[in-house]
């Protein structure tokens, strides 16, 4: 063993992890070579010297500073609930659930309306039902009363018919002459 091999084994020796096959030769080299003893001491001393890196004391107000910081963070509990919910329910499942909810809302709303109409209708007699059904016409009252437009259409048709007839007569006269 030389000093370089010895140096490489020192950390293992210091943590009692040197394999038995090296341990004997390591100890022999340590006893015979003064440089080896010096090197081993230097290793130990360098580890001990780390104590010179002194600890510091925390600022006395660290606890109040912490609670102030926590209270200043807005909506932290909302965030926690949101994060927890996200973890429990994956994104695609959440999107599908939203679609089902929206469709479900419209279906339930229409069903509710139909049930309401049936309930109201069941309380009416035959005459009232007939009256109610004709009430649909009232909604189209403006259209029904706007018959002027249809009148004009009829007039236009009559004029066109008359014109056609006249042109036919004229062509007949031309053919005779």
């Amino acid at each position: 063993m030389d000093i370089n091999q010895f140096k490489k084994l020192i950390p293992h020796y210091l943590t009692n992890e040197l394999q038995p096959k090296y341990l004997q030769s390591f100890k022999e080299f340590l006893q015979t070579d003064p440089a080896a003893r010096q090197e081993l001491e230097a290793f130990q001393k360098s580890w001990d010297l780390l104590v010179e890196f002194k600890a510091i004391e925390p600022d006395p107000g660290y606890m109040s500073r912490f609670w102030t910081s926590v209270s200043r963070q807005p909506g932290s509990w909302h965030k926690n609930i949101g994060m927890g919910f996200k973890r429990l329910v994956p994104g695609p499942v959440l999107a599908a659930a939203c679609v089902v909810l929206i469709i479900g809302f419209f279906v339930i709303r229409d069903q509710g309306y139909i049930q309401l109409v049936h309930r109201e209708k069941s309380q009416l007699d035959d005459n009232e039902i007939e009256l109610v059904e004709y009430l649909g016409l009232v909604e189209n009252y403006d259209l029904v009363t706007d018959t002027e437009f249809f009148k004009n259409v009829e007039t236009l048709k009559k004029i066109r018919k008359k014109q056609n007839k006249q042109s036919l007569n004229y062509s007949k006269v031309q053919g005779v002459s």
Partner: protein, 197 residues
Amino acid sequence: MSQSPYFSDPDAQLMLEFLGGDKASFEKLMRKYYPRILNFIYRYVGIREIAEDLTQEVFIKVYHNARSYVPKAKFSTWLFTVARNVSLNELRSHKRKTVSMDESLETGENEVRPQWQDLAASDPSEDLAAKERASMVREAVARLPENQRVAVLLRRYEDFSYQEISQTMKISEKAVKSLLNRAKESLRNKLSGLLDA
């Protein structure tokens, strides 16, 4: 279903009590760990003010993300993992901000290193030799690669076992031993000036 052995960890119990709504349990945890986390981060980043801010950030993160804590390791290893991540993010962002202004920070090793303030100069009670010794030790620790530095801090100052360090750093115990051995060799070389004196 078998329960995690870490449920019996008193700190894990406090955490579970806090999850049940007991804020006093969280305060107990803070009083116990705040000084340790502060010093771990201080030795990691090198500046007291930043260490104070980051320690606050660590506990705020723990407070808000308490529900993500599962006692599958000791509470302390989980807490120190959070502290390491927060510190690492800080050093990375600090490097990004300063590299353009100070090219000397580019080490070529893709390594993040603390920016040391001269604390010794602000403490008149220390004599000159002690100041110099402390400064050299701080510098030697700061110059260790990031993963070796974390392993040294946890082993030397927090008295963590190899298993606890491996859980905190999420590496094997064999890798932890290897990191520590290389760190010790490195420290021995960097502190040779003090050792020969």
